[in-house]
Symmetry: C2
Subunit: 232 residues, 2 copies
DNA sequence: CGGCAGTTTGACAAGTCTCAATGGGGGTGG
DNA sequence: CCACCCCCATTGAGACTTGTCAAACTGCCG
């Protein structure tokens, strides 16, 4: 598949259909592409903030702290938009969890163009607000939850994104390793594993192989996620 | 001071000067105002996401988890823009840390208008991206830092925002209590207090009264913040 | 000056991390 | 197609950071 094909798929999935041809062409001119395998770093580029669209596959956005400690700031899946920040106090890197196709743009250029098209500006704003809201939710998880609540809420969130429903259960394959989950939740790989075991013993979920998960009791899991009951 | 005055100050500080009069008038028509004292909840409104401009004072955005646990998602000071989310898995509330003046708008209406003015849309996008970047930084702090690193990086960040320089030292008054700091860093009030004492014993800072802070060695503090060295 | 709320300090408990060993999945090569 | 091997995941034991509970202290405000 060639780059133009990738741009078309990007346009179809992530641009509103009533974008003007002129804007579309200018977007295409500034678009860059990455097709990478699991584990690779898709984008090697410094100096400017990037706007990255995940066309297929899944990625993790990782921040490096001192002493080799890593924090997964966010996971993103096909259809998502993410921003790759220039480093502030920490350096950020994007990694492919699976084989991936990405389309990306220098953020400032993209914005300059986006604000000339109302539909596009609106869409980008919505996505940015959505990303901010998800980051806020993650903040709560990291700051005020114990290990079990962290894993439970993580699984509930992933299930909402990737899960398919099978008579009350939610079934999905985790594209990330236990280490990635730990690095995302602020836990060690061992603690993640222990919590998986405990949730299994509680009858809330089953696992098959390394990545298969079946949430047997989504409501029970949600109850252990430390979320505020909506009716409170 | 009357509401129109507040709008003028908002316009002067937070709107680009070349906004059209029509847009300005429509903004004024949808603007709402809050003037509250420390500790108050400035905005009681449900159902839609709000865009809040802090004209004066400072606020904390708090998320309630189950069992009365609170997580401070962000502090905001005069000049800041923040979004007050409709609740997702958690409920959010805004509290005034000091006497405050706020101007706020329903986010969707504001956006609809903002995208008709390029400068405005750009500005809002920039601010949203900035908020997202700060939230990412907070994620790292919560997920991968110990208590001392959390407090050190918190103080460095606040100093950059509120501190005034006095021959190498950075001096400021904390508008928030130890509890607020703990709720922001995912620590208890006792742990925050112990870390203050330890940093004091290390000669990195002095405190005066409950809120006065003098960072004697900002570089030394930064070194303990767990940040990645820029040159790495 | 007195009282109260917020802060500091101390002792102990608990949860998570660290280090270590075992187990199992899944990919590779024969 | 099967067997092997390596890497990831699981399980266990002990250490350590942080949380919990309690008491003393001190700014701050009336």
């Amino acid at each position: 598949m060639t780059a133009p094909d990738l741009f078309d798929r990007f346009a179809k999935s992530s641009l509103s259909p009533d974008i003007s041809d002129a804007t579309r062409l200018r977007l295409q001119a500034m678009a860059r592409y990455a097709r990478v395998q699991a584990g690779d770093v898709p984008i090697i580029e410094e100096g400017s903030e990037l706007l990255v669209f995940v066309i297929s596959g899944s990625v993790k956005l990782v921040a490096q702290a001192s002493q080799g400690r890593e924090q997964v700031v966010a996971f993103h899946f096909a259809g998502d938009l993410l921003t790759l920040p220039v480093h502030l106090a920490h350096a950020y890197t994007l990694y492919a969890l699976e084989d991936c196709e990405l389309v990306y743009f220098p953020a400032s250029q993209f914005f300059k163009l986006a604000v000339t098209e109302q539909g596009m500006a609106n869409d980008i704003l919505d996505r940015a607000m959505g990303a901010l809201a998800r980051c806020h939710e993650k903040t709560i998880s990291l700051g005020r939850k114990n290990a079990q609540e962290k894993l439970a809420s993580f699984l509930v969130t992933i299930a909402a994104r990737l899960g398919s429903s099978e008579d009350g259960a939610s079934v999905f394959e985790l594209p990330m390793s236990r280490r990635d989950i730990g690095d995302s939740l602020g836990l060690t790989i061992e603690t993640v594993s222990r919590q998986f075991s405990e949730l299994r013993e509680l009858g809330l979920l089953e696992t098959s192989g390394r990545s298969g998960v079946r949430l047997l009791d989504p409501a029970g899991l949600e109850a252990r996620a430390g979320h505020l009951a909506p009716a409170d």
